[in-house]
């Protein structure tokens, strides 16, 4: 089953907020505890599903898992997302020390796989897991400024690191699918600063290969302004594009192939954290109205919601999304 098939079969808009972090509030836990403990992580996700009844659910968005599994130094704040602190790869030789590692034996990778197993066993909606994107993992290995410069000055080095990252990602993603993931979302924020041509070369080609290896629905999630990359992202062969709130969805929707699902993009902070429930409903209704002509759309948030997102705002998001009556559905009835 492809993502577009699920969308087409639904009589209403699917509503799938990216809401891992607020789950920690429902289990009175910290983000860090969830990042290390699969049972707690699962219970946080379960509570989110129980309370908000989304049409699919993802676990916590964590861009440090794969890099941490390679032994990079990661900072784990109690209540914020984990971040990689150092970026040690400067040459091809630096990469060698990481090639001996099998990421599947890393404790935190195992924890996320166990979380997915529990989700698969107990939740009867589509379950999604995140993996980092190849250019973004390469960027964590090399440093963001360094990899950006190296795309021009040392493209072969960048491609080697991207290829290395790709193998790590495929191995982890396949294990998540084996654990029961129906959807794999590839998080590739670092690629946002590339030109369409450089994106195709340093990220898109690798994402295409990853997607071909995975027997699951695939989504490409890129934060920031990706307006210039719409076509290049579609060409990777992913089934969905999950894009940030700065992208003007109605304006780009016609550039997205009709069998690729556009997913997003209510602003996580400006709307979901800062607005009242009525303000959230207004923002949701405005987006749904503007996206009415496009069947290949899932209502979501632009990125994972911050921990402090008011729960009543998530409720308002779900209610407004599910209450929306598609005019094409009405006319068909």
């Amino acid at each position: 089953m492809r993502l577009i098939d699920i969308v087409r079969q639904s009589p209403r808009r699917l509503v799938i907020p990216l809401m891992g972090y607020p789950g920690a509030r429902l289990t009175n836990s910290t983000i860090r505890q969830n990042e290390f403990n699969s049972d707690l992580h699962y219970r946080s996700i379960y509570k989110l599903v129980e309370r908000f009844d989304p049409d699919a659910v993802f676990f916590i968005m964590d861009l440090s898992v794969e890099a941490g599994a390679l032994g990079l130094q990661v900072r784990y704040p109690l209540s914020e997302s984990a971040t990689v602190e150092h970026h040690p790869v400067k040459t091809l030789a630096d990469l060698e020390q990481y090639e001996v590692l099998d990421p599947l034996f890393d404790a935190r990778i195992r924890s996320y796989i166990e979380t997915m197993k529990l989700m698969a066993k107990n939740l009867n909606i589509p379950k999604g897991g995140y993996v980092i994107g190849p250019f973004t993992l390469a960027g964590l290995l090399m440093g963001a400024v360094e990899i950006a410069t190296a795309t021009i000055t040392e493209p072969d080095l960048v491609l080697s690191v991207v290829n290395f990252a790709e193998n790590i990602i495929i191995r982890y993603a396949k294990e998540l699918i084996r654990a029961g993931a129906d959807i794999i979302a590839i998080l590739e924020p670092t690629a946002t600063f590339l030109s369409p041509k450089a994106f195709a070369r340093f990220s898109g080609a690798s994402v295409s290969r990853i997607v071909r290896f995975l027997d699951a629905m695939t989504i490409l999630h890129i934060c920031g302004n990706t307006t210039h990359l719409i076509e290049a992202m579609c060409e990777t062969g992913v089934q969905g594009l999950s894009l940030d709130s700065v992208v003007d969805f109605p304006a780009v929707a016609s550039r997205v192939r009709s069998d690729v699902v556009l997913i997003g993009n209510i602003a996580p902070v400006q709307v979901m954290v800062n607005e009242t429930p009525d303000g959230v409903k207004r923002a949701v209704n405005n987006l749904l109205e503007a996206m009415e002509p496009y069947p290949n759309f899932i209502l979501s948030t632009g990125c994972d919601l911050p921990l402090e997102t008011p729960l009543e705002n998530i409720q308002a998001f779900m209610e407004a999304g599910k209450a929306w009556r598609l005019r094409r559905a009405d006319s068909a009835a």
Binding site: R75, P77, E80, S81, T83, V84, E85, A144, V145, A148, T149, T151, I152, T153, T192, F193, L194, S195, A198, C223, G224, N225, H228, D244, S245, V246, A267, P268, V269, Q270, V273, N274, C303, P306, L307
Partner: protein, 210 residues
């Protein structure tokens, strides 16, 4: 005779070694270093910024252009130090507390320096108090804050509050930027301006000087 247009072109295309070589040659031929900076390097980075705004080039091209500019500036610095060339303005910049992302902040820094500003870079994960201390010490025109994570945006507000508490808020203009940041957010937290990209940050910094 050195062709300064070639120097500017080398900066724009990111050819650092050529930029260095041509700058050295210009100095040998006694070209005024202030002229090199004001008439060629700064306008060159302005062209880079405009190309970026028009999506003709992207972050990597901008970074290597800045690298070429620094290659030229490194040659000029010892001599410029002996002149009375004043910076356009002074900016204290940093990525806010809890946020370890530096590419956006670095780009803004490079473009500001490329536009003739003096920039004091506090790095990443900068606590509000560190901004306050840097303002006391350096007396800048502006404080520029960057955040990539939605979770660290509130640290921008905390920093503005800390500047207020230290009695420094009216001494500086506060500009903010970063992927999740918006104009509306800047208004909400009482910043003086928001820029969506590094090139616009230069325009904003200039505007805030007036």
């Amino acid at each position: 005779m050195v062709n300064l247009q070639e120097l500017q072109d080398a900066v724009i295309s990111g050819n650092a070694s050529k930029a260095k070589e041509l700058t050295e040659q210009a100095l040998k031929e006694n070209v005024d270093p202030v002229v090199i900076v004001k008439e060629w390097l700064i306008p060159g980075m302005g062209i880079v910024g405009d190309k970026f705004k028009r999506n003709e080039i992207y972050v990597p091209e901008m970074l290597i252009a800045a690298r070429a500019m620094y290659a030229a500036l490194d040659v000029l610095r010892p001599i410029l130090a002996q002149t009375d060339m004043e910076p356009v303005g002074k900016v204290v910049i940093g990525t806010v507390k809890g946020d370890l992302h530096d590419i956006g902040k670095n780009l803004v820094k490079m473009m500001l320096e490329g536009a003739g500003f003096e920039v004091i870079d506090l790095g990443i994960d900068v606590a509000p108090q560190k901004f306050v201390d840097a303002v006391k010490e350096n007396k800048p025109n502006h404080v520029a804050m960057s955040a990539l994570l939605t979770t660290t945006m509130p640290a921008m507000k905390e920093t503005i509050e800390a500047l207020k508490a230290a009695g420094l808020r009216d001494k500086v203009k506060v500009m903010i930027g970063g992927a999740p940041v918006t104009d509306k957010y800047a208004n909400e937290i009482g910043a003086d301006g928001y820029a969506p990209d590094a090139s616009s940050a230069v325009d904003l910094a200039k505007r805030l000087l007036q």
